[in-house]
């Protein structure tokens, strides 16, 4: 196989992962805000969003957005789909993070007469973020693997390049073992970065 194609493919895999993780983490905040809103229809919308987005396989979303909607490039469709799927999963992670903040914290805010908005932003959210961080990190690491599905709609990332090499050379072992190792390495790097970031966030907020 032609190993010179791998760096570009690896970069594409990393790009899809990072871009859609950023979209998902940001959009997840909106979804969880809607989920905890006082307005009932907003809550229903958020529940429907998380259920439907997570209930349909990512590969079906990819084909629906790429072939069905038909206006996106393969890369654009992949980033949108993985970003939207991540928004649903991140919202659920944030939600359990918010629920994990001790009740006493809310009571303390009331007792001290701290305004609701200030209390939420400066006391509840930082703690929820620290609780959620490890789950977000492991979700993003899992996304690395999911991006392999983008090969099916023609994004020239790792799995796509391996698949083409296997078809051309007739050797199906070298390409897939090689990209398998690259996926593991990429997950490992993300795990180390994520662990460092989570530790930093925790110490930063605790201080």
């Amino acid at each position: 196989m032609d190993f010179s194609l791998l760096p570009a493919a690896l970069w594409l895999t990393a790009q899809i992962t990072i871009l859609s993780a950023l979209i998902g983490m940001a959009a997840g905040v909106l979804v969880v805000l809607a989920r905890r809103s006082r307005v009932a229809p907003l809550r229903w919308l958020a529940i429907a969003w998380t259920d439907v987005v997570r209930g349909v396989p990512p590969l079906v979303w990819l084909m629906l957005v790429f072939l069905g909607v038909g206006v996106f490039t393969p890369l654009g469709a992949a980033v949108i789909v993985f970003g939207l799927v991540a928004s649903a999963y991140c919202a659920e992670i944030y939600r359990s993070g918010l629920e994990g903040v001790a009740k006493g914290q809310y009571e303390a805010l009331d007792a001290l007469g701290i305004p609701t908005r200030t209390g939420r932003l400066r006391v509840v959210v930082p703690q929820a973020a620290v609780i959620s961080a490890p789950a977000v990190v492991s979700y993003v690491i899992g996304m690395v693997k999911d991006t392999s599905l983008a090969s099916v709609i023609g994004v020239a990332e790792l799995t796509f390049v391996a698949n083409r090499a296997a078809n051309r050379t007739g050797d199906g072992i070298t390409p897939f073992v090689t990209v398998g190792v690259l996926y593991l390495l990429l997950s490992l790097v993300l795990a180390l970065v994520g662990r460092a970031a989570a530790a930093r966030a925790e110490s930063g907020w605790a201080a």
């Binding site: 349909v56 396989p57 990512p58 079906v60 979303w61 084909m63 069905g68 897939f176 398998g180 593991l184």
Partner: protein
């Protein structure tokens, strides 16, 4: 709108046949993956041999860390190089069983840790053998603790059967894709197929949630 409904109804027989095959793939890969994962999880958790534990942890991490699609391609396109030719069906089952066993063993390891140590000590004190301890004491409880997680996991396995489209196995997504490539109504057919997936997955996760409230102890 009425066109959409009429088209959808005319596609349903093909799509439902595909759905049936997706469910069959889910069933067979769980049938093989669950017992394998249970034994793998038990041996990894209980073995006293360090090298064996490391080896099994490495296998589990590999199964969980590699994209299922890469494993599937490796089996389907790679194994023929060493004279092992599996059909698309058995390649999928082999790939899914491998990743299932990894995930199931993690769920089971968690459940085994949840069984009070006193029960194992009691088995030892009563002179009950290791195999019997596993079969009559650990397995039933570990399964009970992990059932909600396993049902949730089964829903994920069902979703991942859509990967089979990559090796042209006639499951639900493949059926939808074929209809789309004939009618060019990709958007409509993927919406109908997506809805079929979602109905099964949402029903299964609601069931898992209900089981979780019932089996807590």
């Amino acid at each position: 709108m009425s066109d959409f409904l009429a088209d959808s109804v005319s596609w349903l027989p093909d799509l439902l046949r595909g759905l049936g095959h997706s469910l069959w793939l889910t069933f067979v890969s769980l049938l093989l993956g669950l017992p394998l994962g249970l034994v793998l999880g038990y041996v990894t958790e209980r073995t006293t041999s360090r090298p064996l534990r490391w080896l099994l942890v490495a296998v589990i991490e590999l199964a969980r860390g590699l994209p299922a699609l890469v494993v599937l391609y490796l089996i389907y396109y790679g194994l023929p190089s060493v004279e092992v030719v599996l059909s698309a069906f058995w390649s999928i089952i082999a790939a899914f069983t491998f990743s299932n066993a990894g995930y199931v063993s993690e769920i089971v390891r968690g459940a085994i840790r949840g069984i009070p140590a006193g029960q194992l000590e009691a088995c030892q004190a009563l002179g009950i053998g290791r195999a019997r301890t596993f079969a009559s004491v650990i397995a039933p409880q570990a399964l009970r603790i992990s059932t909600p997680s396993l049902v949730g996991y089964a829903a994920i396995v069902f979703q991942s059967t859509s990967l089979a489209v990559a090796v042209a196995e006639p499951e639900l997504l493949n059926a939808a894709y074929n209809i789309g490539s004939i009618t060019f109504q990709y958007l409509q057919v993927f919406i109908v197929a997506g809805a079929l997936y979602a109905v099964v997955v949402i029903a299964a996760s609601r069931f898992a949630g209900w089981l979780a409230t019932r089996t807590q102890y």
